[in-house]
């Protein structure tokens, strides 16, 4: 249980450092609340986007085989290894006003960078691997036997997907989404670089924490505690690990 200690002790240390007298005014300040609410909204949107884009991706990786599949899988995992700041730069080069897609999009009147959309995009970029990894693993573990049964009972592939595959991996999908949400909520580097840090528009809680640290490190710690509590509550409520669906006669 050294492992648990390694994770839990630093959190205890943070809690111990919080200056509780200033805590309530700090976290109820306008800028904190704005940052928190922005962060929650963009994270939700990013999670939805992760599910929307990640489910087909995970299905492709788990259920088909094609040349270059391993490369694709490695690429999908990249945002995990890329320092977020570099991720932000990459996004800027792609969706920025002068970026590969950003420039043509701008011609069409769509301006992404430095808007809440950019925050969502940055969060989706860093959070999607979590969903894909969770889901692909579960899809492989569940195997294709139940899907085969469904097909012989006359279910079309879409029906099989909807009524067999997704329900079977639902616990993994939920836990993947929760992980994505948590990662999106804590996302900092890519957002700062790609979306900037405008209060109420793109300044999420982690950015607010970063700024607070410039002026008052203790306030930053206190604020990050808010982030921690929000995340713990969400994770504890929704994430149960993947349930064991395989009964005795499974």
């Amino acid at each position: 249980m050294v492992g648990a200690a390694l994770v839990v002790l630093p959190l205890v240390a943070i809690v111990a450092r919080v200056d509780w007298a200033h805590f309530v005014p700090l976290i109820t300040s306008e800028s904190s609340l704005a940052a928190l609410s922005l962060g929650l909204r963009t994270s939700l949107a990013a999670t939805a986007l992760c599910v929307l884009l990640g489910v087909p991706l995970a299905l492709t990786l788990a259920r088909t085989s094609f040349r270059g599949q391993r490369i694709l899988r490695a690429l999908v995992l990249l945002p995990l290894v890329l320092p977020p700041v570099v991720g932000g730069l990459a996004l800027l080069y792609t969706f920025g006003r002068r970026g590969m897609l950003g420039a043509p999009l701008r011609e069409l009147g769509v301006d992404i960078a430095f808007s809440p959309t950019a925050v969502v995009l940055a969060q989706t970029f860093v959070a999607m691997p979590f969903l894909v990894v969770s889901l692909e693993g579960a899809l492989r573990t569940v195997g294709t036997r139940y899907e085969a049964v469904g097909a012989t009972l006359g279910a079309r592939p879409t029906t099989v997907l909807r009524r067999v595959t997704l329900p079977l991996v639902l616990p993994a999908l939920v836990s993947g989404a929760v992980l994505s949400f948590a990662r999106a909520l804590g996302e900092f580097g890519a957002t700062l670089t790609f979306a900037g840090s405008l209060q109420g528009t793109t300044r999420t809680l982690p950015l607010e924490i970063y700024l607070q640290r410039e002026t008052d490190p203790d306030a930053a710690v206190a604020l990050s505690l808010v982030l921690v509590v929000v995340a713990v509550v969400i994770v504890a409520v929704t994430y149960r690990g993947r349930g064991s669906l395989m009964g005795r006669t499974g």
């Binding site: 800027l92 080069y93 006003r97 002068r98 840090s197 209060q199 528009t201 410039e214």
Partner: protein
């Protein structure tokens, strides 16, 4: 948030501007913006703080900034060099280095030379960042060579190591010591004058509001706010 709507000719200032300012200006520019808004009702100043180089990159990538204030001339030059500035940068503040030690000063540091002694764990900025360049300059002036425990990438990180007691001493800006309050003890040293860091500001867009803010930031009212935070006059 698009660029500022141009203020109507001959009328009072109104509209919104976005100010990109170096992270070390967070406290002062928040005050300045509030004061400016109070002076000019109907105007809104939105602030975007990040490292100077971050901001410079964002602006060269087309970020919707109206005003740009950096902590060094190098990053300003990136923006002006790209032809993105609407005027000539104006210096509005300076900053010098100070030795920062934990309040109890465990290593008993009193002078710059102490930083080079073996028993003192010293952290400084990496030469790539402005405060690191300044550090190199004062060291050269003093004829000292340092073996730092760490070369941080920002002043905040240097300060963080000292407030946490991780390091015995470090070189940061005067303003940082001021902001940190009781958490650190500042020790001035004479060689600091050999590396004065200058803060320039420039309007990025043509609007009257942006010009007015630049003017305000370089004006005397702003001078008082900046001085209170420890900034020197340009």
């Amino acid at each position: 948030s698009g660029p500022a709507a141009p203020a109507p000719v001959g009328d009072a200032l109104s509209g919104t501007i976005v100010v990109y300012a170096a992270a070390s200006l967070t406290a002062t520019f928040t005050t300045l913006a509030a004061d400016f808004e109070a002076d000019h009702p109907g105007t809104t100043v939105t602030l975007n703080f990040a490292g100077s180089s971050d901001l410079a990159t964002q602006i060269t990538e087309g970020a919707p900034a109206d005003v740009f204030a950096t902590a060094d001339k190098k990053n300003m030059a990136k923006v002006t060099g790209a032809g993105l500035a609407a005027g000539t940068p104006m210096d509005f503040a300076t900053n010098t280095l100070e030795i920062a030690v934990p309040p109890d000063n465990p290593a008993g540091v009193t002078s710059l030379a102490d930083l080079a002694s073996a028993g003192v764990t010293t952290v400084v900025c990496a030469p790539q960042v402005p405060c690191g360049a300044a550090t190199a300059a004062v060291m050269a002036t003093a004829g000292l060579s340092l073996t730092p425990a760490s070369e941080e990438s920002s002043v905040t990180d240097v300060l963080g190591k000292i407030t946490s007691g991780e390091a015995d001493a470090g070189l940061v800006y005067v303003t940082d010591v001021r902001t940190a309050g009781d958490a650190v003890l500042g020790i001035e040293f004479p060689e600091s004058s050999s590396a004065v860091n200058t803060y320039p500001i420039v309007a990025v867009t043509d609007g009257a509001l942006a010009a007015a803010f630049v003017e305000y930031a370089t004006g005397s009212a702003a001078r008082d706010v900046l001085a209170a935070a420890g900034f020197g006059a340009p």
